[in-house]
Symmetry: C2
Subunit: 458 residues, 2 copies
């Protein structure tokens, strides 16, 4: 019996209409990546396991999809390991490759392997799927695209400034106005931990602070206390909870707060440079806003930290994020290569555009002209006409079989074709065709030897 | 110690320059797929194992990459299976998903699962990677892209005609002139086997005939004899070896040869319809040529069989192929859906374009304008200028750091940037910038408040 087909949980088929909307986003993103001087690379879908394992923490290792070795994989397992019947010890013996978990580690691997042919600073973008054995849930998939732009080999803050512009440019081009680009700096967080006397508890401190939105000031203080941060320290951190107003006034408060921390002061100076440069250059539709509670990816970033939130009123987590990392390629033996990058959350951006009805109506149209089919001879002439249209870059088609005209019209409606061409026996003998505007119902006759007239009126 | 990175054998990194050449091919193919009314779909990279296994023969099953179940996978293996320590019985217990092996089976699965939302006839294209655990060798990879266009739900021969036009259109657009589209029909092969009295040996007969190019007439006859085809049958098949001349004269010979086979005569009629329609419509640069020895994918195709060979003088196997299959979706329970499709061999097309030097020179340029960096203040003004260029769709960049100008020029040369902008202290105070044409060495000064003049001269 034939099997009833299904797809693995957490994965998706994309229909033509979904693809056209996804490509609309991809194309805009790519165009601006390229205008900003970023170049595309692609890496293999699977990497050697040892390239990926140990790079994402224990949780990450667990979520990496491993590929079973081909052939008689079990014969290579020694008896001791086999008799243990233990998944953790068995897995490394029967798998050598694993599916890409993110684009950052493969990029680091790429940079190290291709270092002699790369012209640094290297601005690369990469838009490829990644796979995670996460529990699937609404908006979380086991296969999804990541979309990253990074610069490696330059520690210039101009890059941070440009990345803010890049976010602004892409979201403006998507007509997604009113996004907020939140900005922080790890050095500021480290400086704060230092001046309040909780340097050793930096991670606990920032993890708590990161929850300010969700659990409020008292909640954050409670969590800090639970993590062993002293009351004195918490008291000293009070200014953080009242940091408000313009970016400039926040910078001034931070400068005062961090005046005795060298690292903190450096962070403030970096933040100020980015803010002032952007003030000078201007943004099109986005807001740039300091947020010292932003602690995203802290054990990874070393300087600027970015996060983009959707416009007010759209309930959606961040739709982008990134930051600077000083030693991306060190894990593969290439030291002192600073990098900074951002990513776009494609699935979420898609949902936001959908919710705000921002996809262009034109994406619904996959065909410009459909010739109905009135029989073998007429269809061949229609195909000749269609070929001329296609050569002019018009998406055109002939209905493949001579079925009921009703059914053919229904197909045209479903595909939202704006023009239907009628070329029946009579038209054929007259050397003519009729074009019907499906919106207005208007019909107009053209000569077959003057298709150009029809094309120019389209 | 840091690990020395590598990638799995049979996989590839793609550099920016390679990507731009690959995208050049992809973009042309997609444009014409769309002009011809084909719509894109995408399916997940992995499918449930039972969707794929058993669909590609024993060899195929062996070459499918299987994904190890997550978590404590081994605990779900019963003791009897485990104690057998047998890879074949163990594999199905520890893997449930497998990487896509081709695009055809996932497409069939897609059509069945989405049958209620699809408007038939459904013309779809799909360009995605597939994975095969094949032994890697020159030009054969474990990860590679397939590129398919298929129509399902129509048995009209107009589709075959269109697919010939599609091949011609795409290869013409790629400036790859002189390709030959070889055409055959399974019904003709079946008819021949029938009239020579070797109906039961159809596969052996065609497999042998398929080797005519390689082993010659005597070789083919020898192999036929070895496979048990009688001398009488081989004698009767003699006309096949002398089929030459125009498509029309070959059709006439075949018609005579197959007059007593209903199936064979039907095949000749189908072939004649396609040939005559294409004669009527004309091709731009390709040749359409009957080849009765073409037996590609015979146990799969039921009607037309296509194969495209590169222009004479380029030693490369086929660069495309396809055919009609009457029951693609039957394996998943949807009967009587006829389909016909073609594929483009992207990696081989890439190699052919490379060999014939057909990639446009413009692909080498990833950046239109580079502003050199003369210091913080100058760079910020350069970034402002660059922003204006980018808004006009010009790929522009600022060199990120104020290093030696020699080094910056070298970077511009390596990236083949046609225009370099010099905006130093003097220019800044004059409100001007200098654009240097890197090819001619010519330098010209523009005003910063009239960037439009520079843009219009680019």
């Amino acid at each position: 019996m034939a099997q009833k087909p299904s797809i693995p949980k957490g994965t998706r088929d994309f229909t033509p209409h979904e693809i056209s909307k996804r490509n609309y986003i991809f194309d805009i993103v790519k165009t601006h990546f390229q205008n900003f001087g970023y170049q595309p690379i692609e890496t293999p879908s699977f990497e050697n396991s040892d390239t990926l394992l140990g790079k994402y923490g224990e949780e990450g290792d667990r979520l990496i999809f491993k590929i079973l070795n081909s052939g008689d994989f079990i014969s290579k397992v020694d008896d001791v390991t086999y008799s243990s019947k233990n998944s953790s010890s068995l897995a490394p013996k029967i798998t050598e490759k694993a599916l890409r978990y993110d684009l950052t580690v493969p990029f680091a691997r790429y940079v190290v392997m291709h270092q002699n042919e790369i012209d640094f600073p290297f601005k690369r973008y990469q838009i490829q799927p990644v796979w995670r054995a996460d529990r699937p849930q609404k908006g979380r998939f086991r296969e999804f695209y990541q979309c990253d732009a990074d610069v490696v080999g330059s520690d210039s803050l101009l890059q941070e400034v440009e990345l803010v512009q890049l976010y602004d440019t892409v979201f403006t081009a998507l007509q997604l106005t009113g996004v907020t680009i939140k900005l922080n700096n790890r050095k500021i967080l480290a400086g704060i931990a230092e001046v309040i006397g909780a340097k050793d508890l930096l991670i606990d401190f920032t993890v708590a602070l990161d929850k300010l939105d969700k659990i409020g000031e008292e909640g954050v203080k409670k969590e800090m206390r639970e993590k062993g941060i002293s009351d004195t320290a918490i008291e000293k951190s009070a200014p953080l909870f009242t940091l408000k107003g313009s970016n400039t006034s926040q910078l001034d408060s931070l400068e005062t707060l961090l005046q005795n921390s060298e690292e903190g002061s450096k962070g403030v100076a970096e933040l100020r440079y980015i803010i002032e440069s952007i003030d000078e250059l201007g943004l099109q539709t986005a807001q740039l806003s300091i947020d010292v509670t932003l602690a995203r990816g802290l054990n990874y970033y070393t300087g600027a930290i970015f996060e983009v939130s959707a416009p007010d009123g759209v309930s959606m987590g961040s739709i982008g994020g990134g930051g600077r990392y000083d030693d991306l390629t060190g894990i593969f033996g290439l030291k002192n290569v600073s990098g900074v990058g951002i990513s776009f959350g494609l699935d979420r951006i898609y949902l936001v555009l959908e919710e705000l009805n921002l996809f262009p109506k034109s994406l619904e149209k996959s065909l410009d002209v459909l010739c109905l089919n009135f029989g073998e001879k007429e269809a061949l002439t229609s195909l000749k006409l269609t070929s001329e249209l296609r050569k002019s870059g018009i998406k055109a088609d002939v209905y493949p079989s001579n079925t009921k005209i009703q059914k053919q019209f229904k197909y045209a409606n479903n595909r939202k074709v704006p023009f239907v061409i009628l070329l029946g026996t009579e038209e054929l003998s007259n050397g003519a065709f009729v074009a019907k505007n499906m919106k207005t119902g208007e019909q107009k006759t053209y000569r077959l030897d003057a298709v150009g007239t029809f094309i120019s009126e389209l």
